[in-house]
């Protein structure tokens, strides 16, 4: 790898974004091809990543600020897949909305490039810039709709997001000041050698970092924006930010904490912080989700609870030897299955809300008669979010709770299992409404090919990895080998 090859995957995405803008401006009669340019750019990006894998060519780039390793490659594929699904699911909505079609796809692609940089970044400055490259377009996208709710969601998301990034920056400034470097490997050396003398300052920096990233991960107590933004933002955008920015935030938190703060002097402290946040998120997210009547708001609270589940993997590090990375690989496995399950659910919701013009759960009654495909697809994704076999969500929960038990976090796993039981109540009550409820309307709902394709892809993925989970598990385990044994 050298030169442009180092940023090839991002470059492919950004070139597609530039072409889309040109098409939008110069060929207004051919705007229909814009989503396909976006998908072509994302496929080119995935192929470029594959060429590294085939050549087995992993290295660190730009003076160590980017680390193009197996871990980054796992997330490059994940983000390309997420963005393709989001673009497919957006086509109908964007066509109906009418204005700014080119800009919409461009912003989605720029966000994707920022997410990719974030998963490879190994330097505080790069992490900050990549985080903002992925965040600022999402603020705009959240306020993209014409109605007052969407603008309100956009402004709320931006104001709270900016406060969170200021906290994050202050933490980074303290970390730079105490360690004298912005590169994660050098910070790791400092923490290992002189961490004991500077422990209190390191803990303050860690707490600020967790607060900043906690906002993006949507964990308690940084979750207050989630229900409002999920409800107010256009549904395709909600789908994107519910999986994209959450996965990227977990990617970078894993890299920072498993690399820079891995030394024993601080690792018990952050493991404890993550365990408490995980428990709080699982409890609050699941309890609040029960009382919601709006399905997007319900999925907002459910995503807080799911973030709590991921965080069990972050807390599960007190085991030694090669099992040090067990929690990390569980997080990766869970992120990948959650991404496609949640996207599948949102794709179905996008299609349904366009037809019935409502996001209220009570209006989903009798959907089974009106569109068996959408009802079955949504129900299957909700079953996977609950964690019932034979879905991929079952293996993800099994694996992460197993990591928790191995790390002596039995209390946390018990909370996790109990809150999963609670979650079954609200996930399955949507399914009950769709299958057993009666609707006054009886007209059939027709789905467009793009929605059909993305929903089928998500459902097939969830089912296949539910029956044959090994390929995904070994991919996740392979990716975290970069955090070698402790």
């Amino acid at each position: 790898m050298n030169g442009l090859d180092l940023v090839g995957p991002q470059l492919a995405v950004l070139v597609a974004a530039a072409i889309i803008l040109l098409v939008d401006a110069l060929l207004p009669d051919h705007r229909r091809i814009m989503p396909f340019i976006a998908i072509a750019g994302l496929i080119a990006s995935a192929l470029w990543t594959t060429s590294w894998v085939v050549r087995d060519d992993y290295q660190s780039a730009f003076g160590g600020t980017l680390s193009l390793d197996r871990y980054a490659v796992f997330f490059y594929y994940l983000f390309a897949g997420i963005t393709v699904t989001v673009v497919l699911a957006s086509i109908d909505w964007v066509n109906r909305e009418g204005r700014g079609q080119g800009e919409y796809y461009m912003l989605v692609l720029i966000t994707c490039s920022g997410l990719m940089f974030l998963s490879a970044a190994r330097d505080l400055i790069t992490i900050f810039v990549a985080l903002e490259i992925s965040s600022i377009p999402q603020y705009i996208l959240a306020g993209w709709g014409k109605d007052a709710r969407s603008s309100e969601a956009g402004l709320k998301y931006l104001m709270l997001g900016a406060i969170a990034s200021a906290l994050l920056l202050y933490g980074m400034a303290l970390l730079y000041g105490v360690s004298g470097s912005t590169l994660l490997p050098e910070i790791a050396t400092f923490v290992a050698n002189e961490g004991a003398a500077n422990r209190s300052l390191l803990i303050v920096a860690m707490v600020l970092l967790i607060a900043g990233f906690g906002f993006k991960m949507a964990v308690v107590p940084f979750q207050m924006w989630v229900p409002d933004v999920y409800q107010g933002a256009p549904t395709p955008v909600t789908a994107f930010l519910s999986v994209g920015s959450k996965a990227a935030a977990f990617a970078v938190v894993l890299r920072i904490f498993f690399e820079a703060f891995r030394a024993d002097v601080v690792s018990d402290d952050w493991s404890m912080i993550f365990a408490v946040l995980a428990a709080a998120s699982m409890i609050l997210g699941n309890l609040m989700a029960i009382v919601q009547t709006d399905i997007k708001r319900m999925l907002g609270y459910s995503s807080i609870a799911q973030a709590g589940n991921f965080m069990v993997g972050l807390a599960a590090i007190s085991v030694s030897g090669h099992e040090f990375t067990l929690g990390a690989s569980a997080v990766l496995l869970f992120l990948a299955t959650y991404a496609f399950t949640n996207l599948g659910a949102f794709v179905a919701i996008i299609a349904i809300s366009q037809k019935i013009g409502s996001d209220q759960i009570k209006d989903y009654a009798g959907l089974w008669q009106r569109s068996p495909f959408l009802a079955a697809g949504l129900a299957f994704c909700l079953v996977s979010l609950t964690g019932i076999p034979p879905t991929a969500g079952f293996w993800a929960k099994m694996y992460i709770f197993n990591a928790g038990i191995r790390a002596d976090l039995l209390w946390l796993v018990i909370i996790g299992v109990l809150s999963s039981l609670v979650s079954a109540f609200y996930y399955l009550s949507v399914a009950r409404q769709m299958f057993l409820g009666a609707s006054e309307e009886t007209g059939k709902l027709r789905t467009s090919p793009a929605i059909g394709l993305s929903l089928s892809a998500a459902v097939v993925g969830v089912l296949v990895f539910g029956i044959v989970p090994m390929p995904l598990i070994s991919a996740a385990e392979h990716a975290v080998t970069i955090f070698a044994t402790k």
Partner: protein
């Protein structure tokens, strides 16, 4: 008395807390954005004083960081004002207490 690192850090920390208090208590969205700007500039001050007073091989990293923070803050402010205008067009107010359409 010579002015040392700790003086700059204390001023930075005070400015940061002041900015956070403004951002969390102001009811006007523009006021909140000014608070955020104050927090970011407190971070810049902290970074620059660390970079000035420490003798590390990465002295320039702190200054580079500040340049990026300033740039990103400008981009963020542009988007924030655009969104504030969009909210004002829909609601005729940018009072954050009245942004309450999104409720369960």
């Amino acid at each position: 008395m010579t002015v040392g690192l700790e003086h700059f850090l204390v001023v930075g920390a005070l400015l940061f807390c002041l900015g956070l208090a403004v951002a969390l208590s102001k009811r006007n969205a523009i006021g909140v954005l000014m608070g955020i700007e104050l927090m970011l500039n407190a971070v810049n001050l902290t970074l620059l004083s660390f970079s000035r007073f420490q003798d590390t091989p990465h002295k320039v990293a702190g200054q580079t960081f500040v340049v990026f923070v300033i740039t990103v803050a400008a981009a963020e402010a542009a988007v924030a004002l655009a969104l504030a205008v969009s909210v004002y067009r829909n609601r005729q107010t940018v009072d954050v207490d009245q942004l309450n359409l999104l409720k369960s």
